[in-house]
């Protein structure tokens, strides 16, 4: 079998493959550090029972939906009261309730959001707590 311009074609294929796979080859074996969100804020340390508004597993998976529900409830229905998992009463507010405990936005929010490359636009308007 004769391939016309075989040399050129094979060189082309090799160049293409090496370029296309280079990001994978370049990063092979180098795992990005796993996100490690921290809960060590003074406000959380003070709590006797360390408990968010819902169980940890739920918050981890569904916090974005919960925040959307809170937003609609407060802005559109004018209802600010949320009953937590154990019957606690919370005021639905990102700035005053969520961030009061989780005052470490960089180590709590950004840590995972950066890892999974999501860019929530909460902080375009809402004011993040002051951090050093």
């Amino acid at each position: 079998m004769k391939i016309y311009d075989g040399g050129k074609i094979f060189i082309g294929i090799i160049i293409f493959l090496s370029v296309a796979t280079s990001p994978f080859l370049f990063n092979m074996g180098k795992a990005t550090a796993k996100p490690d969100p921290k809960l060590d804020t003074p406000e959380i340390q003070k709590m006797k029972k360390k408990q968010c508004v819902e169980p940890k597993e739920f918050m981890r998976r569904e916090h974005m939906k919960l925040l959307n529900e809170w937003r609609d409830s407060v802005v559109r229905e004018g209802n600010m009261i949320y009953i937590g998992v154990g019957g606690e009463v919370y005021s639905m507010s990102l700035q005053s309730t969520c961030m009061k405990c989780h005052s470490n936005k960089k180590k709590f929010c950004d840590e995972c959001h950066k890892y999974v490359a999501v860019k929530p636009y909460c902080w375009d308007c809402h004011i993040a707590p002051k951090e050093n």
């Binding site: 154990g86 019957g87 606690e88 009463v89 004011i127």
Partner: protein
């Protein structure tokens, strides 16, 4: 077991279950009370129809106006771009002629002619801005407040074209660097949304009067239009008041004693 016995047993089981559930619920309610509350202790202020009366006679010096406008600016992180083209207006001033077009005439009192009038969103009964909003970002609450949901605003500015009072402003630039001192209790806005006065609904929700009303020391009167004993109704019943462009039929909720 015959049919009669079966029916008896079923009825007893049903009654017992129902009783048990309600007992559990009572217990749960008790638990609710026992838990620590994370909410503000104050009760929200509520009304059937919020409205405001501006007694412009109480505003004598420039400082009287400034106090009111600064209180709003601070409460809501209103930016100051230093450029009238980009200005964000929640509560602002204009002349009688511009505020009440058609009502001015050559021989009216000089002081009234040149006096600045405090203007803000009228929170209309029949708000044209709400009607034109394609995303329902602006909507009317049951208590008469015309609200903005910044999460939904797409910046089309139909509402600005619809509002006959010029009460709405568009954020042409990111406002945050232009907010002098940021109030951490309230969000700022972002580039590309429309904003306006919200009758301090966030303060009413925690039992406080609007910031401008608090700062005005009696110049602005705020209350429930449907409550005959409210401050606004008392003032409206004892003074002659006018509204801006009421002939348009939007039903403005801000009244002026001139």
């Amino acid at each position: 077991m015959d049919r009669r016995e079966f029916l008896k047993l079923t009825a007893i089981t049903a009654i017992a279950t129902a009783g048990g559930i309600s007992a559990l619920e009572i217990l749960r309610d008790k638990e609710l009370e026992a838990h620590e509350a994370h909410t503000p202790d104050t009760k929200p202020l509520t009304a059937k129809r919020w409205a405001m009366v501006v007694n412009i006679r109480k505003f004598k010096t420039e400082d009287d106006y400034k106090k009111v406008m600064d209180a709003c600016r601070r409460a809501h992180n209103v930016p100051d771009f230093g450029n009238p083209k980009d200005e964000i207006k929640w509560i602002w001033t204009d002349t009688f002629e511009h505020s009440f077009p058609g009502q001015e005439h050559k021989y009216m009192p000089e002081d009234l002619k040149h006096m600045p009038f405090l203007l803000l969103c009228n929170h209309c009964d029949n708000p044209p801005c709400v009607r034109v909003c394609p995303t329902k970002a602006t909507f009317k609450r049951k208590d008469g407040i015309v609200m903005m949901d910044m999460h939904r605003c797409i910046g089309c500015r139909f509402c600005m074209a619809a509002c006959p009072f010029g009460a709405r402003s568009f954020n042409w630039r990111d406002p945050r660097p232009f907010v002098k001192e940021i109030n951490p209790e309230f969000p700022t806005r972002t580039k590309g949304v429309v904003e306006k006065c919200n009758f301090c609904e966030e303060r009413l929700a925690v039992g406080r009067m609007p910031a401008c009303v608090e700062a005005s020391k009696g110049g602005l009167i705020f209350g429930d239009l449907e409550d005959p004993n409210s401050d606004v109704r008392k003032v409206l019943g004892s003074h002659y008041t006018i509204r801006r462009k009421s002939e348009l039929g939007t039903g403005p909720g801000v009244y002026y004693i001139v």
